[in-house]
Symmetry: D2
Subunit: 284 residues, 4 copies
């Protein structure tokens, strides 16, 4: 049902995150341990911040385990903040424009999960997207619509509030159409400096989400481990499932919470509460 | 700006139409003579009627001149009615879901041309699509939206009226947004029995369109030509540009006209007049 | 490590074989039950006899479970004899020219398995291919080289002898290079009329192979089953693993045997014995 | 028949070279001015030196003008030395393993042109490749074989001598098979520090090749041009055809010559003379 990984810290070669560990993200594309489906072979995407404020994006419809170009790029590109996503499609076409992460200006957005019975409620969701943003929608995936709803609700000003309102709006529209369990998943979004991560589902049984322990603690735990000596103090990785089995490294994010990682950002997790939409909900 | 070909008659091997002639459709993908652009390398599609009422569709984002699978299929598949289309993309992504022909139940639809400033008016056009049809839209091409507008306006009951109303609606919406020259192109649509073909542009300077002379006449003109002896009496081909240079074979369809080919269909061309839309046009 | 299916009988729509059954071949691409690897997502191929003596071939690097074109074609193409193959690549590139089945004139050839340490012995194998056949090699897969060795050893005159000599030659070359367990797998080849199937491995622990019970017996076993009433008396399917769980339908082909299905062919399985090569084996 | 571009100098964003100028390399993929064919739409490749001694490679079978990923990468990746190539295939399959540049350890190699009647002489050429290098051949293109011949003849020690011997060997083998005009083209190769460029054809009517005037001269010629002020003094670009029309920038490399650009390399062009092969030439 997709797997993703977000990194922030001192510049890191992408291949460390994509191919490193006993359960690397690319290994998960062929066989994930915790995913709703073991195979995540319906394309993938990488978004990274580098030469410009606007991040670069590399997306492909090939399975990640097969993509020779991904292997080449991951061995050459370093970045202080990047998103990677492997896809297990449910319904929408396997095409680059449906691969995560999605981008708007300097923002990236990715998701593991789904909007339930998307075909039924898609039209009402699309109509709520700000008309000035509407022409930017490139694909047909539920997540892209969710991203544009969040942008409509002010993602660039207050990401946490906007995502909670977007999910609230999805739930409200779904209620009108009697669609059960409307939202499922984990979400990450970034402006290139901070990363906001969310875990929530309407049924309160959400896809898994993990964040790494802070580096100073890891260094104390594992004084002999070179990797922890090399990465920067502020390095953090947020993932759908752990990349390996080292005890004390991976902390599960609890059900229905969100958090943010970034310079000057307050640590700690907060409850995720879908917000009542500020716009009117169409009658089904 | 795209090239297309429609065939109806006794079953014909696709390769006759796709690879035959000194200016075959596949040759036109690399170098067309009459196209707005010489290269039509942004994917292609074939739709054909065979085992079932619903036609088969083969679409690819590769240039037609390169596609080994197209060559194989064209050498094996015969059909009494088929559409083929080569694409020169203008704006919308090069992906299978944007390749013509588009399909709804037993209907196919393809187009050479464009809706001008599509991004500006797309939202208003999409909102006019019947909500029950809306979830079927798979891609992001202007032509697919035009097809679903025509379906909304009754394509399956009266194709000519529905296409003229869809174009009329596009022109009306464009007028509200002050978009000039809103529609350009030639269109073909079929239910698997008859083919309707249209040539029109808001500026009255439309892409070219040709139809073959009827076979009995061609046999009289060229008694020695084997091909004309072999194909069925009712065989007709409609194309964006002639496949070869044999005199008397290709007849240009005049500006702002439409016609229909099929069993029991009245011959002759009729004027194309965009129809005033039966639904309200949103204020810009 | 790949899965394949071969069919011969009255013309059958490809989708019956590709998408039918509780464990269809396309389902096996995502999750096979008996394969060395559960996922066979590294491309696929279909070869079928139809309009011409030369079979058509459709090959793609996408996972079969994702390929919309395969679904379309399978719903339109009927054939009295076809091969289909889903690939789990081991080493050689994921590209159409490495997808099975391979073709030479009216012959097809496909394989589930491998030549061990192919890189080490490839050069010696290639040099043994008849120089007049050599330019026809299009890809870099071990199976294609095996096919051209079999052609060199007279596949078109005596398929069983030629395949046993090709495998014998591989084993002899491998011995010079001290490569253990040189050959593994099951093979199918056809001239468009009969199908020869082989199960063998140097270590005598070969990939599984099954053939359907003859239709008259199946009709007696299951008088109420419509499918068995509809297919022709001579219909046979040979597969890497059963497409479903109906008792009495699937018979395992024993270790180190081969057989042939086709008009006027003697039934029964014979032992597979690698043949001493008739040409000299290069010194390593 | 392909177009290519090689850059060496201070790190430059790839998009300057790929998308800059009135006749940029990507524009040439759709419509080249000086190419044997106007369209170079059969894939492309980029090789660049960055994080490691081994260059990264990005290759795709899509036309360069369509590749969204190329556009993204070119806007993010800077490199002091890179090769880019757009392909017009002649015969060998359109697949990533046939896209230039080819790589061996820290070396890259690309070519615009062909080996005439390659199918006829390929086997003899392949047999001359050092057996230890042979398993590295990934594709089926004539240029890759030429590269491995040059490596066999010592490319890594003396590039100019090795390329002249490889071409000499091709001509000698072709002579045995009575193949006329065996070699045509321009070649670039690099070790990541210097670039060797060659222009030669057996018929002495070679594809065009241009090199930029040195930057100090360009600064004197165009004191007001910002670009020339910004790039490093030692920056050089070598191309199949000029990227624009600015007088004095592009200098044609004469027929049958070669040159080298790089730190401590002697300037000036030298005659290209195919070298008599040091190994025996097989009898046809």
């Amino acid at each position: 049902m997709c797997r993703w990984l977000a990194y922030s810290g001192a510049p890191l070669l992408l291949e460390e995150a994509l191919y490193g560990g006993t359960n690397s993200l690319v290994a998960q594309s062929l066989k994930s341990r915790l995913g709703a489906e073991p195979t995540n072979g319906d394309g993938f995407g990488v978004g990274w911040y580098g030469a410009r404020a606007t991040p670069g994006i590399y997306r492909s419809t090939e399975p990640a385990w097969n993509d020779q170009n991904l292997h080449e790029l991951a061995g050459q590109i370093s970045s202080p903040l990047f998103f990677t996503h492997i896809r297990a499609a449910i319904g929408s076409a396997v095409q680059q424009t449906n691969c995560h992460p999605f981008r708007h200006e300097n923002w990236l957005f990715m998701h593991n999960g789904y909007i339930n019975e998307f075909a039924t409620i898609k039209r009402d969701l699309i109509l709520a997207v700000d008309p000035s943003l509407y022409p930017e929608i490139q694909g047909t995936a539920d997540t892209e619509v969710l991203f544009f709803l969040a942008l409509t609700f002010g993602l660039q000003d207050d990401p946490a509030a906007a995502v909670q309102e977007a999910v609230g709006f999805v739930e409200a529209v779904a209620a009108r159409h009697e669609v059960p369990h409307p939202f499922q998943g984990t979400i990450a979004t970034t402006d290139g400096e901070s990363i906001w991560a969310f875990r929530y589902s309407s049924e309160r049984n959400s896809r898994s989400l993990f964040v790494t322990t802070d580096i100073p603690t890891l260094r104390k735990l594992y004084p002999e481990r070179e990797l922890f000596g090399e990465v920067s103090e502020n390095a953090r990785m947020i993932v759908s499932e752990p990349l390996g089995d080292v005890a004390g490294v991976w902390n599960e994010v609890p059900e229905s919470t969100w958090g943010v990682v970034g310079p000057g950002r307050e640590q700690g997790l907060r409850p995720f509460r879908p917000k009542e939409p500020s716009i009117s909900v169409p009658v089904a």
